[in-house]
Amino acid sequence: MTETAAPTTVVAAEEAADGEAADWGPLSSLPGNPMMWILILGELAAFGAMFIGFAVARALDPATFDASQGQLDRLLGGVNTMVLVTSGWLVAVAVRRRGSGRSHRVAMLGAMALGGLFLAIKAVEYGDKIGRGLTLETNSFFQLYYLLTGFHAMHVAAGIVILGIVTWWDSLENLETGAAFWHMVDLIWVLLYPIVYLLR
């Protein structure tokens, strides 16, 4: 007679309850749903190409890009980086707490609130630029600035909705999948901030 070891973690218990996990090949070892990682890889490729495109556009017209970049609020961009990084920390903490069977909702709500703060700061920044007549039509720098930061802000808004969904339907896999999307949004911003606001 053989004995089966009792599951020692929530992950093991849920896997045991769900039966054998689907085989996603090399994607199986990644946390959360593998489909989210396919999305993450696609998003990183798209933003990576846009970052290279931004750098090449700047090489073609450095005077316009450097003067326009001087109109941005580097401090506000840095503060927003800290806001998003702190939000990511709260989501990571929530996932670990869920994995060990502890309460995680307060951390998730805090992460969503910080996501909202990020968007509010971004709105203040856009309002200031538009108020000074710096719009999509100003020059190629501001076209790319609004394109990149706007596209990212849409991901933040979608991320807040996803975090809300996985906070409500909070299986460990759901939470890990939502967290993976949020960390991808965080990751893209930590690359976007220096390229658009700082490098010259």
């Binding site: 070892s29 090449v56 580097r74 840095g78 990084v85 700082l198």
Partner: protein
């Protein structure tokens, strides 16, 4: 949990380093560009390893993301440092 908090502190510190290195007017020079990009790359690596928990994944994933980030770092560093030549060649 402690490792996550340490990671958060490192990310905050690296953001402050980026803000300090990138402040002011005028070009950053190769050293400044390298420092700002290195801080960003290190932050991205910490997010992937600790927040996204790639430590749990097969070693190939972490190495693959590191290669991608390094390629992006090299490409951006090259474009920002060699921009007069690149601009002249593309015009």
């Amino acid at each position: 949990m402690a490792i996550l908090t340490r990671t958060w502190m490192v990310l905050m510190l690296l953001t402050a380093v980026s803000m300090w290195a990138g402040h002011g007017t005028g070009g950053l020079g190769p050293l400044g560009v390298g420092l700002v990009l290195a801080a960003a790359n290190l932050k991205a690596d910490r997010i992937l390893t600790q927040y996204l928990d790639l430590r749990r994944a097969d070693g190939g994933w972490r190495a693959g993301f590191r290669v991608l980030l390094t390629l992006l770092w090299v490409a951006l560093f090259g474009i920002y440092v060699l921009y007069p030549m690149i601009g002249a060649a593309l015009r």
